[in-house]
Symmetry: D3
Subunit: 242 residues, 6 copies
């Protein structure tokens, strides 16, 4: 990921404040309809949001001659991937949607936390759920499964382009995940989306107020001219308050 | 829905007191086996029951030339459907089981609440889950998804017969939804089922007591003659107490 | 099940202390990769673990001429199966993964509790969720559905080999189910797995400590010689403490 | 199957002349909507129809400790089932819709032919397709797969009630399979359906003629009074011709 | 469909000469990625192409109180839809991907042929396959099923926007179906695609020749400048020959 | 693939003579149960077998910003993969089971033929079926689809480990595909399986003869001592004949 163009300094902080739903709408505006993963959901309701640059892992289906317990200690295993991952990354795991085995358990999660990982997104399950909760990293996954990865999957590499939950993820893309699920922001679009998304959310805050006060959605969202004018006034007033 | 025969005055209040499981059994008694939707589950565990007449919405798969952001403001959009819906209805959304996009978010939910909508049943996901919780209407759906409807669906009309979760729903059918899921009561059967269901539940309350006291299920439920006699006595005693 | 070789006296108590994830790993060590069911998840987050010998039930798809309400009272119904089940068993239900009907509701659960049943594992849904919670047995299933079994299934027998969640279950196999899901231990392997599993968990407890203190996973789990030596010391110290 | 009431002598010959589509309609008339299997299709386009009494086989998911190559030679294997099957039966295999392994290959098919088996219906695949074609029995299945059964399934018994393609099949039920798929006739309904089905087909032959001559379907099928009168005449004329 | 803008006179004849694959590429060029149905395949390998304007039918899931045999003769049935359909249309059936019942059999097909229907596209199965073959209309569908529609579906209307095989279809859209499947051309794009597609196919004919003569695909398709020049020459030569 | 140990000279010729079913059984004997792909079937019934070393291609889900028509001509496209492939390889395409787009059409197939490719195995569809038939290479795939790859997939590289039809494939593994489907032989096992498989088939030829002459399968396959003795004699006789 060393060759990637750097993100603007406030891109990640801004994206950390906006919802996956907002980001998804910003992406559709730019012609990207396939950005929201199907499969990963929050492991725990209260675990919080997860925003950061993707570090990708890739699995293929298991075959009994290679997906052995010995493979866990071999060169090129997921253990090496964890050590290769810089701090402050979101680990994105392409588990091919396989639900018969878990790619991570509490021991690997504990190490990931020590290594500064922000959290996990996977289209497969995790294991040792009780232990994972104690580690305390946000995990978006397809529930839990008792078997270790080798029961159904084999690890083949990291920092490659992958698919996760039906969406393409390239190393360095930005993940925004919350209760609505995980959305992938192409790295090249991250700066402009981070710039525009807060304004969208501000307008939606205004629109929600109006709707709760009795305005119909039509004319309010998307706004007609009168709503836009009212918004300008509302925004000016709010800015003045600060 | 103007031409529909009115329901008996106590039909909805009675159905509000009985479970989806009871209603499903009453329907099977009348030859209706396909009444329980697959897909919609409670968005929040404690959100409560949802009982009322259906107001239907219909989506088809999205196509990029029509499912645009502009379509949200166009005539015939879901915004018009919301305004056309009378108060005290359950909005039933045929989302074709599509999980890649959400048909409703917090802004539309807020307006629905203002309009007197009782709650939502959809075989697709919703978005802005955090905001939807604040609105506080009961929502039965297929989880959450960040993308807005146009990412995968296109709205085509309201108050038509639809399918939802694999079940036929006609405008004016009665929805009974609780933790066991959403069941559709054909309007023509609603009065008689509302009349019979409370008695079924009363008997089941009795049967549960007996079973907890050590009676085997066989002979108790369904009841043999001795159980029926005991039930008559129990019921008479309970009636006398009141 | 009368002809089955008895389990060692401490097999069930030991398995009651270890996780489904640990058991799954022990099974893979012995060449069994297909042991974890797909489908059954805990009905309630806090319901606790379920460990015991399986008593199996078998359903086939419903046909309208046999799957009638009358069949509930007939000889050979699920009511007879419940009475035939010895105490301290886990009821394992082969519902063929059918989600359109529930095989059990609160009345049957209440009787099962009276009969000393330990809990339920099914690859289909249950009904009367509110009532089931009050009964208080641990239930691992595929969510909830309002319709009774005859809406989609027909009961055909008990204590036969079955499939559940894609895994073979023979009467007398041992079930270990927790938040990670339900795992089936072939009866012939139960004693040796119960003997080995606690040691695996003890080592993992040690490994977790080391990882939280900064050790990389590589060399720690699976352990290299240095880790093994450290573990021996740690174990000796812990034993001395007691 | 020895206790089953015998079928009327012309039941099977009559059913051999009518289509699966006709039989399905006759079943719906009698309240049976779940009679057509999903999964089994003709292995070869020109293989012809298959009509006869069901002899059932049952598989569960494989487990590595029991689904071994040695199990093929053990007591209670599919080899014993084949020898236990009377001549002139249709073998119906409950393969649980598993597509990762085949329950039958050319050697078993060859033996089935020698034993007088009429043909095969399975909701899983077969193997050795080239060899099976040479045997020449009609086979309705879910395509082909190279692995033998033990790769994914384990045989557990015969002549039990089973599910196949989502439909209940009891030993002695009658199978009618053609290009439209395989339909199960409950044994108790076989005589009356065999009595009525030919007349339905005769009327449909008449209706098709009328439609090809320009009659609209409405009024022709289902018939109005004029069509019924015309049919009576047509039938009388046809009878006279013979 | 009476208000629809007419197609250019040579639009349908031109589309009749180009492949579904070509049309799909032309649509992607114009931003339409969701145009190819999943589900409908040719019923018979040699049945030929199907090109024409869509006339849509819509089904919802069956419910036992309305999906009766009597409904076949009622007002608003599929029989009325057939009579309402103008000649030279492609009937597109939204069967919701349901595979448990067939929406059409040989009698309806026979009438459709008399009425001048060009062929059928459905995301569900048909029945009476043998009879349908004799009628001789091209049918793109999801295989065959013995049961009539009411076993699983209920007809609710025609000439509405529908979904078929995961794609939106509006009355008057143009269907292009061949061995590669069925593609929907939005009516508003039909003229320009019909204008451009033949040229695309001509170039591909040239490119195939070049590749068979040893040219690598790179530089040939998509073409570089040298290839474009060669193509101009080739085209001029071909035009001169005619 | 340059570092791979060479196969024994007669490994590929021997595997070219044995069936996928035989190879699958040989793999199970060696502990490999996951070797047969689910998804790829012969595109044409009479296309013949396909045996050779795998050259792998990998796709991920499409994203609108990268999966453009321009990407077809870019560095690292599938066009480069084709040129990088040595002659006499089987191209194995990991299309992630995606059925909404085709990874190959007639132009690429034509080039593959010129380049000496033996045939194609993919868990997704192909397009231009009519043109592909004229090229004449054996193709095992998931049917046909009109859209080009970019409608749903994005090409990311070649000669990496991939999954195809649920099975791991490493560059240099050996593919054996026939009417029963495609089986993957781990390269390290190819020599010994090629050595043993013909003998298995010879014995099966003998067993089939015996069964057709009236021997039960039990005792014949797997063979008991008498059968083994008879086989020795049969083999000796056959050897003598040559």
């Amino acid at each position: 990921m060393t060759d990637l163009a750097p993100l603007a300094p406030d891109t990640l902080p801004r994206l950390a404040e906006v919802s996956a739903a907002t980001v998804s709408m910003q992406l559709i505006k730019r012609g990207i309809r396939r950005s929201a993963m199907r499969g990963p959901v929050p492991l725990d309701p209260g675990q919080g949001r997860l925003v950061g640059e993707a570090f990708t892992l890739r699995f293929i289906p298991a075959r009994e001659d290679v997906a052995t317990r010995e493979s866990y200690g071999a060169a090129g295993s997921i253990r090496d991937a964890i050590e290769a991952m810089p701090a402050d990354r979101v680990m994105v795991i392409d588990a091919r949607g396989e639900t018969a085995a878990a790619t991570l358990g509490d021991l690997l999660l504990a190490r990931l936390k020590v290594r500064g990982c922000l959290g996990i997104v996977s289209d497969g399950p995790v294991r040792d759920v009780a232990g994972i909760r104690q580690v305390g990293l946000p995990v978006f996954c397809a529930g839990a499964a008792a078997p270790p990865s080798i029961a159904a999957l084999y690890f083949v590499g990291w920092e490659q382009p992958v698919g996760c939950g039906g969406v393409a993820v390239f190393p360095g893309d930005v993940i925004v995940a919350d209760e609505d699920g995980a959305v992938v922001v192409p790295r090249a679009l991250a700066d402009e989306i981070a710039a525009d998304a807060p304004e969208q959310e501000r307008f939606e805050r205004f629109a929600l107020e109006r709707i709760q006060q009795g305005a119909p959605v039509k004319g309010t969202y998307p706004p007609d001219e009168a709503t836009l004018a009212a918004y300008e006034a509302w925004r000016a007033a709010e800015d003045a308050e600060e």
